[in-house]
């Protein structure tokens, strides 16, 4: 076999510096990154990057920051296995390889001027934060903003400080529920779907953006539809196993779609008849 090297392919890595890290919980760590060449990642909320730990592997990770803030991008990573635990060993100043952004750029103009409901289950808040911050940075372009968050326990609530900020200064309704409360917890207890019936919406001008564990979707969608929100107003971010990120390797296929290219963000009407989607 002969070998030749070329400059660029879909697998080429772009080096980035870690400029800040912190643990959000025991096994969830936050990373702030900047490309070593100083360029910005050109992305839209909902997109993700492939993060490379050479020698160990590569994993898809959602971009958690908003493109409105320049000079860096943020990732929040849960220790799930081989690669993610290796990423956790990284410190400020370390360099890693990034591919991306990957995934579809959804036209944000569709939601401009609309009321928004964000529904996040657990780690689902990570990709949604990109949307939320985007909206908040352009707060005047949007209507009512409501954030519903469901977590297993109160400790698992991420971005507590930011949430306070959102609530206090940016006129955002925030509601949270946990599966299991601790003595200090004063909020709701129960499934995230239990939060939906009590919110007030103008169905025709409301968009819902949903991200969470796979089992959550069916029930949340049902609750949203019952609220009268239209199918093409429901935006879902789906997770699938991904290896190449460029629509070839087959792992992320959802029926006709490749989640990495055609998603991971979909409108409900696009996938409601897809037998593998939900």
């Amino acid at each position: 076999m002969n070998k030749k090297t070329i400059k660029h392919s879909s697998y080429t890595l772009k080096p980035a510096h870690i400029i800040e890290t912190k643990y959000l919980t025991d096994d969830i760590k936050y990373f702030k990154l900047r490309f070593t060449d100083g360029t910005d990642l050109d992305y839209t909320p909902g997109q993700f990057v492939m993060v490379s730990m050479c020698g160990v592997g590569e994993v898809p990770i959602s971009i958690s920051s908003t493109p409105t803030r320049k000079g860096f991008f943020e990732l929040v990573i849960r220790k799930a296995g081989k690669v993610t635990s290796d990423i956790h060993s990284l410190k400020t100043g370390d360099k890693i390889g990034i591919r991306g952004p990957m995934g579809r750029k959804i036209p944000l103009s569709t939601i401009e001027g609309k009321d928004l409901i964000f529904v996040a289950g657990g780690l689902g808040i990570v990709p949604l934060r990109s949307f939320i911050d985007f909206v908040l940075d352009n707060r005047r372009d949007f209507g009512k903003v409501e954030i519903l968050l469901g977590c297993k326990t109160p400790e698992e609530i991420l971005f507590k400080d930011e949430i306070k900020d959102w609530e206090e200064t940016l006129n955002v309704e925030f509601n949270c529920t946990v599966d299991k409360a601790d003595p200090k917890w004063k909020g709701n207890v129960g499934l995230i779907t239990s939060l939906i019936p009590s919110i007030f919406v103008y169905p025709e001008r409301t968009y819902a953006i949903v991200c969470g564990p796979p089992i959550m979707y069916k029930f949340v969608i049902k609750a949203l539809l019952e609220k009268g929100i239209k199918e093409d107003h429901i935006i879902l971010s789906l997770e699938r196993h991904m290896k190449c990120g460029v629509g070839k390797c087959g792992h992320c296929q959802i029926g006709n779609y490749y989640c990495c290219q055609d998603g991971p963000v979909f409108f409900y009407h696009e996938i409601k008849n897809n037998w593998e989607a939900l």
């Binding site: 070329i6 080429t12 020698g55 796979p214 997770e239 699938r240 290896k243 460029v246 390797c249």
Partner: protein, 345 residues
């Protein structure tokens, strides 16, 4: 460009030697009672001109079982993108396998392009060999209409009693034929023979499945989430064989390898299979195709439904490999026939 030539059968050896003088040669050889494989050829005698579809299709040269994508050094942080390739002539590629390659091409040229694949493909020369009759009972090239070669080759050989009729598919093919100086220009009688043969083939190759070509996709759409698949895959062991041997399956995995000093390493891609347990598992523990049956249904959808929507092609060449190789004897032909019985179109 002159398109049709004739090669006397006794000159085949000379032609193959000529090929060997230009590049490496790979051709089918016998591996066992009913098994053949494409292998590098040194001894021309070993070539099996008439063979059952090889264990692995020629996709192994286009998309090797294992291939390096990038090389890296952890200390210097340098990564290089590499393409592995070789100058190689494939001789004896069956009609159906030509279609298989075209399916792969469609996937790999789709943006973002797979440069590794495309560059490697450029270095390969394909000399096809037309099938004049069925290889065995597993083939479904009749309904898939893949028994008449249309394109995808540099040179096509069609066999007659004493000679081969040659069709040139590309300029590369034309150069080879000219340089070898072994070929004669085809005459009218040769075309007559070819026409006769193709007519005869229309008689031989009949739809093996009780549905029309166009109905196959509809069959899948209707069957997809229904009980129509009941019982068909009970014996499936999820060994992954049906996908590995399929000329149109291209799913892969990407893994890193590093030396013991943890310094130099490479990122490799390896064939993977949607039949494998962990293929669609994600970190939370959810497995999107946990049931063996669903994995098989997915495989059928990836042959007869999804690619039709996306590339306007069936991704089944009718080669029969999946049925031939299945240890549980699950047959594509029987499955499709059963579905067509169970589903009213």
């Amino acid at each position: 460009m002159q398109r049709y030539y004739v090669l006397n059968k006794n000159k085949l050896i000379n032609f193959l030697s000529f090929i060997q003088s230009r590049s490496k040669l790979a051709a089918p050889v016998k591996k066992g009672e009913k098994s053949y494989a494409f292998e590098y050829i040194t001894d021309l005698e070993k070539i099996a001109l008439h063979y059952l579809p090889t264990i692995l299709p020629v996709k192994k040269y286009f998309l090797p079982q294992r291939e390096t994508l990038i090389e890296f050094n952890k200390k210097t942080r340098k990564t290089t993108h590499v393409i592995e390739f070789e100058e190689l002539t494939l001789f004896g590629v069956h009609t159906c396998d030509l279609v298989g390659m075209q399916c792969l091409n469609a996937v790999m040229v789709e943006d973002p392009k797979d440069i590794n694949y495309l560059e490697r493909k450029n270095k390969l020369t394909v000399i096809a060999f037309e099938c004049n009759s069925y290889c065995d009972e597993h083939a479904t090239c009749g309904i898939m209409r893949t028994f008449i070669p249309s394109s995808g080759y540099d040179i096509l050989f069609t066999e007659f009693d004493t000679y081969f009729l040659i069709h040139i598919g590309t300029t590369k093919g034309s150069e080879i034929v000219n340089e070898s100086r072994l070929f004669d220009v085809a005459q009218k009688e040769h075309f007559d023979e070819l026409n006769k043969l193709r007519k005869r083939k229309e008689e031989i190759f009949k739809p093996e499945i009780n549905a029309s070509y166009d109905e196959l996709k509809k069959l899948m759409e209707r069957a997809c989430c229904t009980g129509a698949w009941e019982g068909i895959f009970d014996k499936c062991l999820s060994c992954g064989t049906c996908t590995n041997v399929c000329p149109t399956c291209y799913c892969f995995d990407i893994n890193d390898d590093i030396d013991l000093n943890l310094l130099n390493g490479c990122r490799m891609r390896t064939w993977d299979s949607c039949q494998n347990e962990g293929f669609a598992k994600v970190a939370g523990g959810e497995n999107f195709r946990e049931e063996r049956k669903n994995r098989q249904v997915h495989r059928y959808m990836r042959k007869f439904k999804y690619p039709v929507d996306k590339y306007n092609m069936y991704f089944c060449t009718g080669c029969g490999r999946c049925s031939r190789a299945c240890v549980a004897k699950i047959s594509l032909k029987e499955t499709m026939n059963l579905l067509s019985e169970r589903i009213k179109l």
